[in-house]
């Protein structure tokens, strides 16, 4: 009886140890958390920074749709649909104060830009970014009040941090991140690729790639040390 108990205990102990070295997902190989270093960082751009900008953009569209000639959230010089006009988020706004929205083309494309502090989970560093966003034509699949479908080309996102570190995050040339229709305060899916280059004291130390396949959790495919 004692031998059986010892064998069973040993087997349980061995089983618990193997969980540390083998992934719980089938056919996914051995997992090392160091392989994912930087993934959460890049997700802050896809899931927080870009989405915050889209939220301000849709608020601007709503204000425009109400026929308002002034706003406490934005300063603007005309209709947001007119090429060349610019809307700027008020410095008193809690979300992205100073962000600029400029209509650049008649095909529902705007350029959003900002240079200021932005927080990644409490780390508030200077972030200088510019993105082109294009609204896909509205279809009957989208109900009034839902989010629009946006294609986002992140032309630059340069973040300068402490100890000489900085990052440059962009979408690859010619590609976009697709934020599909959404309801209840969130977009449903995000598809596309982001690239990141990390520098320390102006020396390139890492190159990373994040592929988004719809969901934030479980779905992203991440590689670094490229």
């Amino acid at each position: 009886m004692k031998k059986i108990a010892i064998i069973l205990f040993g087997a349980m102990l061995l089983a618990s140890c193997t969980k540390d070295f083998f992934s719980s997902d089938e056919w996914s190989g051995t997992y090392d958390y160091a392989e994912m270093a930087g993934c959460d960082y890049m997700l802050c751009v896809a899931d927080n920074l870009i989405v915050d900008n889209l939220k301000q953009m849709e608020t601007a569209l709503f204000i425009e749709s109400q026929g308002s000639t002034s706003s406490t959230r934005f300063a603007f010089n005309g209709s947001i649909w007119t090429v060349g006009n610019e809307w700027t988020v008020s410095e008193k706004s809690a979300l992205l104060p100073g962000m600029s929205i400029k209509r650049v083309a008649a095909d529902s494309t705007w350029t959003l830009s900002r240079n200021g502090k932005y927080s990644f989970n409490g780390y508030n560093y200077d972030t200088d970014y510019e993105m082109d966003i294009r609204m896909r034509p509205d279809t009957s699949a989208r109900a009034a009040g839902d989010h629009f479908w946006w294609d986002v080309a992140l032309k630059k996102c340069n973040r300068t941090e402490e100890k000489g570190y900085r990052s440059e995050i962009t979408t690859p040339a010619g590609s976009v991140l697709e934020y599909t229709y959404g309801t209840m305060g969130k977009w449903a899916y995000c598809y596309g690729v982001l690239g990141m280059r990390v520098y320390k004291e102006d020396e390139l130390i890492d190159v990373a790639r994040l592929q988004l396949n719809g969901g934030r959790y479980n779905d992203p495919s991440y590689l670094h040390n490229l």
Partner: protein, 202 residues
């Protein structure tokens, strides 16, 4: 803990009211071990990995440190019924494995170590002072030397060290023979917790 305190108070009750001051066995030397080193409170070489900042991802970090208990060598001189002085030398150290992201692997790049040596004179106030039993509180203040080794480089820092002994007790079991054991609760730069030891009084 409550039972311990009550027991000590009961034992001390036998000593209160003694008319004569203890003249014999008023000098002693002791060795001690125990307590959590004050190095723990300083947060040296901690796990500072954070996935939301570049420094948190790419800077070196450390695994859970290993601490040695605090070793002490003390000399005491009881000057009178209520008061005594002491001189204490203590040693403690801590070691942590240093890791850094290199490529897509987190490698061990070395070990970081801190060694602390303290020399503190002090004062003790005796609530009970009998040959076989002593109950006391104390305060020590002196100097510490801290040697930090990181990345193959060693640096020496000098600073102040202090301790408060809220309660200590000494037990000698054999008449006319100086061997005793003691335990002290201690809070300060050197030790947080309880230390135990034995000594010889003469």
């Amino acid at each position: 803990m409550k039972k311990l305190v009550v027991s000590l108070i009961l034992l001390a009750g036998f000593a209160f009211g003694a008319a004569a001051q203890e003249n014999a066995f008023n000098k002693s030397v002791s060795l001690s071990i125990g307590g959590v080193t004050g190095l723990d409170a300083d947060g040296l070489f901690i796990n500072n990995y954070d996935p939301y900042s570049l420094a948190g991802i790419y800077e070196p970090t450390w695994s859970e440190p290993i601490y040695l208990p605090v070793f002490g060598l003390d000399g005491d001189w009881i000057l009178g019924r209520w008061i005594g002085v002491s001189l204490s030398l203590s040693y403690s150290s801590m070691k942590a494995e240093k890791q850094q992201l290199e490529g897509d692997v987190r490698n061990t790049v070395g070990y970081s170590k801190v060694q602390q040596l303290c020399l503190v004179p002090g004062v003790k106030v005796f609530w009970a002072n009998r040959e076989r039993f002593k109950l006391y509180s104390g305060f020590d203040a002196g100097a510490e030397a801290r040697c930090v080794t990181d990345d193959g480089k060693t640096s020496l820092n000098l600073g102040a060290a202090w301790d408060v002994v809220p309660l200590g007790a000494r037990f000698k079991f054999i008449d006319n023979f100086g061997l005793y054991v003691f335990m002290e609760s201690m809070v300060g730069r050197r030790i947080i917790g309880t230390r135990f030891g034995f000594g010889f009084a003469f």
